[in-house]
């Protein structure tokens, strides 16, 4: 019974958010999150990243900084895809943030993501200032790729994982947060 009530509440809240956004009545945070649709690819500003991190609260958030030129990043992509498939997008959100050049979005990044069948949203950073990006993601990133950030449901940074990550490591980090 209580599960049914919870599901009904979730459906109601989702409907309110969607209707509000579609009608232009949603907050900026909702608009920013709704833009990060699964499998979508595009560019992103630092302000958009900050809004996304802020707006994703309520779900566990995983951010992965990567690039097509970064061998360990490419190697861990299947692990990230498997993680995304395992958890879906209801309780856990995974986004990729690429350091590829915006002008290779069409001819390098998109074909790469298509070839690897990456199911989660990926954005290429249109602004590269590390200090500004660090503030947006609320983490002191060094600039070394890959790096994966894990946030709890309240938006608190739980872990900054520097270097390649595995499905098992992500499982260990995320499960206690659910």
């Amino acid at each position: 019974m209580s599960i049914l009530v919870l599901r009904a509440c979730r459906a109601f809240i989702t409907a309110v958010v969607l209707i509000g956004t579609a009608a232009g009545c949603g907050s900026g945070k909702d608009a920013a999150v709704s833009d990060w649709a699964p499998g979508s690819v595009g560019t992103v500003t630092v302000a958009d990243i900050a809004a996304m991190v802020e707006g994703t609260q309520g779900r566990v958030l995983v951010l992965n900084f990567w690039a097509t030129w970064c061998a360990p990043c490419v190697a861990e992509m299947p692990e990230l895809a498997a993680f995304y498939e395992r958890y879906g997008a209801d309780d856990v959100v995974l986004y990729g943030l690429s350091l590829d050049a915006p002008d290779v979005l069409e001819n390098t990044v998109k074909p790469f993501l298509k070839d690897k069948k990456i199911p989660f949203a990926v954005r290429v950073l249109a602004e590269r200032d590390i200090e500004a990006v660090s503030r947006a993601v609320r983490a002191e990133i060094s600039g070394a790729l890959p790096v994966t950030l894990v946030y709890d449901r309240k938006g608190g940074l739980v872990r900054m994982w520097e270097g390649a990550i595995t499905l098992d490591a992500l499982d260990e980090l995320v499960k206690p947060l659910l």
Binding site: G143, A144, M160, L173
Partner: protein
């Protein structure tokens, strides 16, 4: 009421359990030396088998570049570091590359240096010991050491936004010029995108 207390206690316990996870995955890596502090000495061999120490270059400005033969950002900076080495050679500035990657052999570095025309020695940092001492994480990551052995600059080579695109401002060039003039570098620190050092 008891349920609420139990729930609160559980949430508190989970929070406390999660808190220590904050931080870096590379737990053994030390903190970067502060600007103005003495840079720790090292003893490493280059690809010709010659031993280098920082101490032997006392009285000279030394540029240490954490580098990689595979990382596009590091490879992209190499030609510009060669230019820098040539520009400041008359001033006695010493440029040294340091490879700390576990999977890179001395022979591979030698081969890369020959093919790409590196003019400065690349030292092999076995078991990333010196990278750990410096708290180095990225390639390229540069340390400019003043004539007095103190750290003048730490961070990106320049402000490039792409691996092979030369930046508009060379932080390292500015820092070397400042060090030669006995002045403080501005900026003294700047982060760089790049590749992570593959540690043992």
């Amino acid at each position: 009421m008891r349920k609420n207390i139990l729930r609160f206690t559980t949430v508190l316990a989970l929070s406390l359990a999660v808190y220590p996870l904050c931080g870096c995955a590379s737990e053994s890596v030390g903190a970067a030396p502060a600007i103005g502090s003495v840079v720790p000495d090292f003893e490493m061999k280059d690809t010709a088998g010659l031993t280098h120490t920082l101490k032997q270059y006392a009285g000279k400005v030394v540029v240490l570049e954490m580098c990689s033969i595979e990382c596009p950002w590091s490879r992209g900076a190499d030609p510009h570091i060669v230019e820098l080495a040539a520009k400041y050679a008359p001033d006695g500035v010493v440029v040294l590359g340091i490879d700390s990657h576990k999977s890179t052999t001395t022979d591979q570095i030698k081969d890369y240096a020959g093919k790409t025309g590196l003019t400065f020695p690349v030292l092999k940092d076995v078991d990333n010991q010196y990278a750990d001492v410096l708290g180095a994480k990225t390639t390229p990551e540069v340390y400019v050491v003043g004539k007095d052995g103190k750290l003048v600059y730490h961070g990106a080579f320049d402000d490039r936004e792409q691996p092979e695109q030369k930046g508009k401002t060379s932080f390292v060039d500015n820092a070397v010029a400042a060090a030669l003039a006995g002045k403080a570098a501005d900026p003294a620190e700047a982060k760089s995108w790049g590749c992570s050092i593959k540690r043992k």
